[in-house]
């Protein structure tokens, strides 16, 4: 028994030493030993091979499936506007067939709508050898299955413990490091050390996710006293960004481990954590952020204006609060590559622990980060227009679609004003077409 115990202890010690030497120390110094690059190359080659096999297998099994599938969905939507469809035919006024337009739109929405699909993970074009993404892919060949089994073994038995160790190291050193730095009096040394601690721990955590991040246009990196806005896909967005620079985080105070991290880090660096009650008070929030931004020596704030996680295929409505603070906005676009691992956190389906587990058993997290030139509010532009302008820029840069819908629709009901707008449009057509001249009510005047 003792032999087994001491053997296990020795194995653990060797393991820890290897991890520290090969991963932790280089990331602390900011150098790379090339191990992750080699892993990524192998992974890319394997997935390409798998894709080719699957395509060959599919062609063999179902040769008649040559009908090209619709690019982005199940159905091809007919985009005729209400005006063209109902009012296009020359006629007097109301027709029984007018309901067909609304019927059609309704059925299209039932089969596939633009909004609810953003709250679940993106479907892959080709299987990436993870069970969780296997939606419609059937058994193809023995070799593919063997590769899949090897993949499962590698991911769960080797990568998962490794990543877990790294994450543990990263979080512990973040808490310990920032607490220690927090004891120092405010000075340049303190800021320098705090930045160092944050950067190092971020790098360790990124390694813990096997993250490969490409940063573009680094000359546009957010400056002090500015506000950095980005699209939101998952809680690890923050880690992705802090891997390359230091930001002041904004967020609600949580309990548990997250709360411990928050309390520790705020001593070292002026993050802005709000109590749950304060969040309701928008003026208080705006005031605190405005004070932070006004102090030009403070780190740039990091805000995710969508307010909730979206699945990285589109950018939803930006809440205007962040754009009322003033100051310079530095937009950042983050686009994950879903082939290697799905970063989206579907908070209604998975809690944070199962989410992290899924992330740690994916192949890798690969993403592109684009820093974009700073934007300021123009004369005569209100917060909503400014928010939309920034959103379009981010969507264009990241190759995402833009949706005018509110991310809050994940949980809340849609406002009635949209329905009222449609009703108004239809009424306009009825009144315009109809010869109801002598019964004018003054509701519509074009």
């Amino acid at each position: 028994m003792e032999d087994v115990g001491s053997l296990a202890a020795r194995v653990a010690a060797v393991w820890l030493a290897l991890v520290l030497a090969l991963i932790v120390v280089p990331s602390a110094l900011g150098v790379s030993l090339g191990i992750s690059e080699a892993y990524m190359r192998l992974l890319v080659r394997t997935l390409e091979w798998a894709t080719i096999r699957i395509e060959k297998g599919v062609k063999k099994a179902q040769p008649q499936m040559l009908k090209t599938p619709v690019a982005n969905g199940i159905i091809e939507r007919d985009e005729t506007t209400m005006e063209k469809e109902i009012a296009g035919l020359h006629r007097v006024d109301f027709e029984f067939s007018d309901i067909f337009y609304f019927c059609r739109k309704g059925f299209e929405a039932i089969v596939e709508d633009e909004v609810t699909q953003r709250f679940s993970s993106e479907e892959l074009v080709s299987w990436n050898l993870l069970t969780r993404t296997n939606v419609n892919f059937h058994y193809i060949s023995l070799r593919l299955t063997i590769v899949w089994v090897i993949g499962v073994v590698v991911r769960y038995c080797f990568l998962l413990p490794l990543r877990f160790t790294l994450a543990a190291i990263g979080i512990t050193s973040m808490i310990v490091g920032t607490t220690m730095v927090g004891q120092l009096p405010n000075s340049n040394v303190k800021s320098y050390l705090s930045e160092l601690v944050h950067l190092t721990c971020s790098r360790i955590l990124v390694r813990a996710l096997s993250g490969t991040i490409h940063y573009h246009n680094k000359e546009n990196k957010p400056q002090k006293g500015g506000i950095c806005v980005a699209n939101h896909t998952s809680p690890i967005d923050a880690i992705i960004l802090t891997n390359d620079g230091c930001y002041a985080m904004v967020g609600q105070v949580h309990g548990g481990l997250m709360g411990v991290i928050q309390r520790a880090t705020v001593k070292a660096c002026p993050h802005v954590w709000f109590e749950r009650s304060e969040v309701k008070d928008r003026h208080l929030v705006t005031k605190r952020l405005r004070e932070h931004v006004a102090d030009k020596s403070k780190l740039p704030i990091l805000i995710f204006p969508e307010g909730t996680c979206i699945n990285n295929t589109s950018v939803m409505m930006f809440k205007k609060g962040s754009f009322e603070i003033g100051g310079t906005i530095y937009p950042v676009a983050i686009k994950y590559d879903p082939q290697f691992g799905d970063a989206f956190w579907n908070s209604s389906k998975y809690n944070i622990v199962s989410y992290l587990l899924r992330i740690m058993t994916s192949w890798a997290i690969v993403c592109n980060v684009w820093y974009m030139p700073p934007m300021v509010r123009k004369e005569g532009e209100d917060a909503v227009q400014f928010a939309n302008r920034v959103r379009s820029a981010i969507a264009r840069q990241g190759g995402l679609t833009e949706l005018p819908w509110d991310g809050g629709l994940k949980r809340a009901k849609v406002k009635d004003t949209f329905k009222e707008e449609q009703q108004k449009n239809y009424s306009k057509m009825l009144v315009r077409n109809g010869s109801i001249g002598n019964l004018s009510t003054g509701t519509e005047s074009d």
């Binding site: 109301f94 027709e95 609304f102 939606v135 009703q423």
Partner: protein, 181 residues
């Protein structure tokens, strides 16, 4: 999770649905994924709230009527078969179907069945007639608050006048069919 969707739908069920509705195998599996993603309660049926969670449907003026069409008389839940049966009304007619034999049962998406579906959207009390009140109800849903009662009433009267052939101030299904150009 993704794989759950395809395993819970057995092949015999898919065949039955295929025969009844005319959807293809892959269409049925995809629509089943859609059904399960809408089914937040994960009990194999959809309720009216599940439909109303679709924002584009919730803002449709006729949204409630359309949702109602899915639920059989007096029931609050619709299963996948019922879901597909209603959707089948709007399945586009494939080329190879046009020449099918006339002796088999009429496909769900035939012109006549589509008209029946539309008729039922108006005819709430299912008495096979669209009364002035029922027409007014649908009109009111579509225009909201933007048109006055008198104006709406005159539109309804004029529409019924044009379509009514047997003088009972209501539209029967035969008169309804004749309206379409």
């Amino acid at each position: 999770m993704g794989s759950r969707a395809s395993t819970l739908l057995r092949d015999e069920e898919i065949e039955e649905i295929k025969k009844e509705t005319g959807f293809s195998h892959s269409q049925i599996t995809r629509l089943y994924s859609r059904f399960t993603s809408l089914d937040k309660g994960e009990n194999g049926t959809l309720s009216r709230e599940d439909f109303q969670r679709i924002p584009e449907l919730a803002i449709n003026p006729l949204g409630d009527r359309i949702i109602n069409a899915f639920f059989p008389e007096g029931e609050d839940q619709v299963n996948f078969r019922g879901f597909m049966r209603t959707l089948a009304h709007f399945r586009p007619i494939e080329d190879n179907e046009k020449s099918k034999d006339q002796n088999g049962p009429e496909p769900l998406n035939s012109r006549s069945n589509k008209l029946h579906f539309a008729f039922r959207l108006y005819d709430l009390d299912k008495d096979d007639k669209i009364s002035r009140d029922e027409l007014l109800q649908v009109l009111r849903m579509m225009v909201g608050v933007n048109i006055s009662d008198e104006q709406l009433g005159s539109i309804a009267d004029r529409t019924i006048q044009e379509a009514d052939q047997d003088g009972d101030s209501a539209i029967s299904f035969a008169e309804f069919v004749k309206l379409r150009c």
